[in-house]
């Protein structure tokens, strides 16, 4: 017992010098194991008497506590060192590029179409569709464009072989035949938009033989041009996200509407750069008017009771203006670089509540 102090010092020195967990365990066993040095001294307590045992016991307990504590601390130290060594060995070069992923895009034409749908949905319109290969009746006749009318020359037409009934077929030159089909299928009130592919025999820098239009039709008992103006004004300002966008209605002519108008929006062309908004210049964006009574009749609707408006616009043109796409022909070229640049991420779904003018 006289050497207790020395013994503890030796053990503590051993602990401090233990290089790893195994060496430390050895020291623990040598001190506190069944045959350990301190355990051995504990066993001698039984042969002591009263006061001496008390004194020696206390000293031994203190010694044991000191050793245990030193063991715990050294264990922690060694664990931390081991962890640090492991982490150092696991270092990676995080400047490496990530694994290749492919990101798809939505075509700007789809985006524009869905934006148009979202806005017109807010105004109570639903979507109607019709075939791309039309008969002469729906594409021309029922829209008050008789054969030999100069208005037919406004729309250079692709012709298809006549069907079994011998009547000529055409690739629809506009989405207006969907109006007629809608009228044939249902009675007013009608509030539909008709987006779709249209075709004209026309191909140059600003025309493509195929393009997309969207038509809107509202037939009810007392629809007037004032509502036509309101509808178009509200639509254009929402679509372009310009709340004070100047909108101008110019008298024009379409066989299927009377009165008819062309719609211009304000812009500026300073330094050759087109900017939408008030700027002293105008840009034509759509045609519209009050549905011609003859068209209502062809569609099976009583023109003495009902009247309404129709409007039609080119969707590529709207997309070009809104997204700043300079060339119509590029819409159809499927150039990956173009699609990536002008395309939209798939989760960017047009939604009026979230704002569609991003």
């Amino acid at each position: 017992m006289d050497n207790l102090e020395q013994l503890v010092e030796d053990i503590l020195k051993g602990i401090a010098g233990a290089a790893d967990m195994a060496a430390l365990e050895e020291i623990r066993v040598a001190a506190l194991g069944k045959k350990g040095s301190l355990t051995g001294l504990m066993k001698t307590l039984g042969g002591m008497d009263g006061e001496a045992r008390k004194v020696a016991g206390q000293a031994l307990n203190v010694a044991k506590d000191r050793v245990s504590e030193a063991l715990d601390m050294r264990t922690d130290d060694l664990r931390q060192a081991a962890m640090a060594a492991r982490l150092a060995g696991e270092k990676m070069d995080i400047s490496l590029p990530v694994r290749p992923e492919t990101a798809g895009r939505i075509h700007p034409l789809t985006q524009a179409t869905e934006e148009v749908m979202a806005i017109f949905a807010e105004m109570g319109f639903s979507v109607a569709e019709g075939p791309d290969i039309e008969d002469d009746f729906h594409n021309f006749e029922a829209l008050n464009i008789p054969a030999d009318h100069p208005a037919r020359q406004m729309q250079a037409t692709f012709f298809m072989p006549p069907g079994a009934d011998g009547k000529p077929k055409v690739l629809r030159t506009h989405t207006s035949p969907v109006q007629v089909r809608t009228m044939e299928q249902s009675q007013p009130p009608l509030r539909v938009i008709c987006p779709g592919r249209t075709y004209r025999y026309d191909s140059d820098a600003t025309h493509a033989p195929m393009f997309s239009q969207c038509e809107a039709l509202w037939i009810d008992e007392s629809v007037t041009m004032a509502q036509l103006k309101g509808c178009i004004m509200d639509f254009l300002r929402a679509f372009f996200g310009i709340s004070d966008l100047p909108v101008r209605f110019r008298p024009s002519f379409f066989p299927f509407t009377e009165p008819s108008a062309e719609v211009d929006i304000g812009c500026s062309r300073k330094n050759g750069e087109l900017k939408l908004g008030a700027g002293g210049d105008w840009l034509e964006v759509m045609g519209c008017g009050m549905v011609n009574a003859k068209v209502l009749q062809y569609g099976g609707i009583d023109p003495n009771r009902y009247q309404g408006f129709a409007l039609g616009m080119g969707l590529e043109r709207l997309a070009m203006l809104k997204y700043g796409i300079p060339d119509l022909r590029t819409f159809f070229e499927c150039d990956l670089r173009w699609l990536k640049h002008y395309g939209f991420v798939p989760l960017d779904i047009p939604n009026v509540a979230l704002g569609i003018s991003g």
């Binding site: 490496l96 590029p97 290749p100 492919t102 798809g104 895009r105 939505i106 075509h107 789809t110 749908m117 949905a121 807010e122 105004m123 109570g124 639903s126 979507v127 569709e129 075939p131 791309d132 290969i133 100069p150 208005a151 692709f158 012709f159 298809m160 072989p161 069907g163 077929k169 690739l171 592919r197 025999y201 033989p209 007037t224 041009m225 004032a226 509502q227 103006k229 309101g230 004004m233 509200d234 209605f249 110019r250 008298p251 024009s252 002519f253 009377e258 009165p259 062309e262 011609n292 009574a293 009247q307 819409f331 070229e333 499927c334 150039d335 990956l336 699609l339 990536k340 395309g343 798939p346």
Partner: protein, 797 residues
Amino acid sequence: MKFTLSWLKDHIETDAALEDIAHTLTMAGLEVEDIEDKSKALAPFVIAEVLECGRHPNADKLSLCKVSTGVGVFQVVCGAPNVRAGIRVVFAHIGTVIPDSGQPLKTCEIRGVESQGMMCSERELQLSDSHEGIIELPADAPVGVSFAEYAGLSDPVLHVNLTPNRGDCAGVRGIARDLVASGKGHLKPLKDDPVPGTFSSPVSISIAPEAMEGCPCFMGRTIRGVKNGPSPRWLQDRLHAIGLRPISALVDITNYLCFDLARPMHVFDIGKLSGHLEVRLSREGESLLALDEKTYELGAGAVVIADDAGVQSLGGIMGGVPTGCSEATTDVFLECAMFDPIAIAAAGRRLGIESDARYRFERVVDMAFMGRAMEIATRMVLEMCGGAPSDVVMAGEMPDLFRSVSYRPSRVETLGGLAVPLAEQKRILEGLGFGPAENPDGSLQIAVPAWRPDIAGEADIVEEVLRIHGYDKIPSVSLLREESVTRPAASQAQKVVMAAKRLLAARGMMESVTWSFQPHKVAGLFGHTDAGLEILNPISSDLTTMRPSGIGNLLMAAGRNADRGWPDVALFEVGPIFHSAEPEGQETVAAGVRAGLAVSRSWDSRARPVDVFDAKADALAVLEAAGMSEQSVQVTTDAPAWFHPGRSGCLRQGAKVVGWFGELHPGVLETLGIKGRIVAFEVVLSRLPQPRRKGTARPMLHLSSFQPVRRDFAFVMDAGMEAGKLIRAIRGVDKTLVSDVSVFDIYVGPGVGEGRKSLAVSVVLQPLDHTLSDAEIEGFSVKVVAAAQAAGATLRG
């Protein structure tokens, strides 16, 4: 329609500025597209005289001239064949911007001789395409004066984009009338009082009965003893300004009136006519050398004017060369006739002749004006060419042209959305030449002028009133709707289209839009057979046939991207395909192609080229997005012929084919000149069933609280046996207990035998009501082995 400002002011007394006039016209529906003012670009060009003209010392074809502008004398090298001493020319100093090139003229040495300016051709000044020589001005052209001013080019030219209903505004007079109605001045009277005839016309006219419909009325008169030379300067300037070439006074007069009054007329040289003039229909085999110097085979049925020698004019479209006027003409017959718009349009289109006369007759020419036009034209001929007029002869008859429409003045508000006072409505209508008369019930009975055949009903009158009163005054009223919460606008089918697009883009594919038509050859590769889908007038030989599949165009697009250096392609399109020209022959498909690498090479992985399973995954994902469960889709191996027969599949719902996928047939790629392997899929969205779910609630979810158990098996079977068959067999052992079967290895080679393969599958068992005991699992395994055995697969020992 083009005209100059001074021309317009011949018809209207106005002090409105050019910009005001242009804006007023545009807002009345006569859209001024452009105002061309040549005076600015031509300001630096001056009239000069060629003092000397000799040969260039170093070049045979060039001349060396001394040119005087009155202020200075310049040495000019000129290559024009018509340059010579004494002529007056248009001169450009060094530094002047030449309109044709847009570049400033530089000092230069031409073959060693300095040239200090340029004498200009019409093309260089953008006056015409003529570049055969330099402009030669009359000998009295004042040297030193601005050419633009001298040539009357300082008169601004307005271009109006006419709508097809406004034939009346194909004449300056009609445009002036709209301006007057808009309050921009007063209409000047026309000098149209009759010129009395001094003899009876030696040329008689008649209309054959069969041509009465095409030409109901024909007037004419002889003018004897005319002298046909160049027309006066003012007339030539106006024709030049609108892009017409002055020819001779007689021809220029008719061309002028065509644009001035929208009244096409024709002048025959009586000396070249043989006998009587008859309006009749052309007969098979007849032809005409027309004034555009082309010979037209007329075929039967065109309205023509013929003499004893044959057809001399294509009525209302174009006259003929043989009886046209020349410098030598002395006696003429002036024709002013009425032609039916539909007959004119049909003949013009059939023969492919565009002319200013056709343009106007197609849009209806004011018939009531025939007589007055005849007098105006006569007066112009007499003034410019002299001569004596005969009486006017007429064939056919002037129909009753009076038309009226009844109109409720309230319609301008109930249809047009704007109340306009009655007095203002009447003022507008009267200004436009209408005759509104009030009925006792307050409605108007409105006489329609003969030059407005487009006016047929109340809505037309509303438009007339509003377009002059101002569309900008109509209020803008937002649409009200019955409910405040937005209702869905898209149908279920439209939603599927939108979902398919977003899904495929989310799978890394680029959405494309391609033509609905394609080359016949491509369509043929994808099952096109219906001749009804061939476009009769394709715009190019590449766009001839309505596509039978969405894959062809995408394939070609993939090829184009590869050619540009981007071979890893994933493109899709959702759009129409066509099986017949009937509405039900059109279907909507989602189609996609993948080419090149599906996974590109990286530090972590090796490159993986696309394969059939990429296309299969795309197709199944589309079906799932469309609301079809995987279990309801069957895959069969009978894909269409454009796929690789051993690497493709058909997707079916029951017996119905709803799509296909696979590697494209190498033969198809070879035909299209596309290299490499391409996989594709197509899902026919319009064939998919509409989801039949009732309500919005999902089925109840039952989550098992017991541990799932996984067991792996390896089976050996014929190499040709489908994995799907084994999977179905294992699933069939216990459909409630087996929640998943996956294939985690395929092995072919030593140990499994020739022509055999080994498939390793992992089966997941999900007990619902108790933990599986070892005995139960063992029992299940035995059943799996037995089921596999029955299907043709043996447990690998």
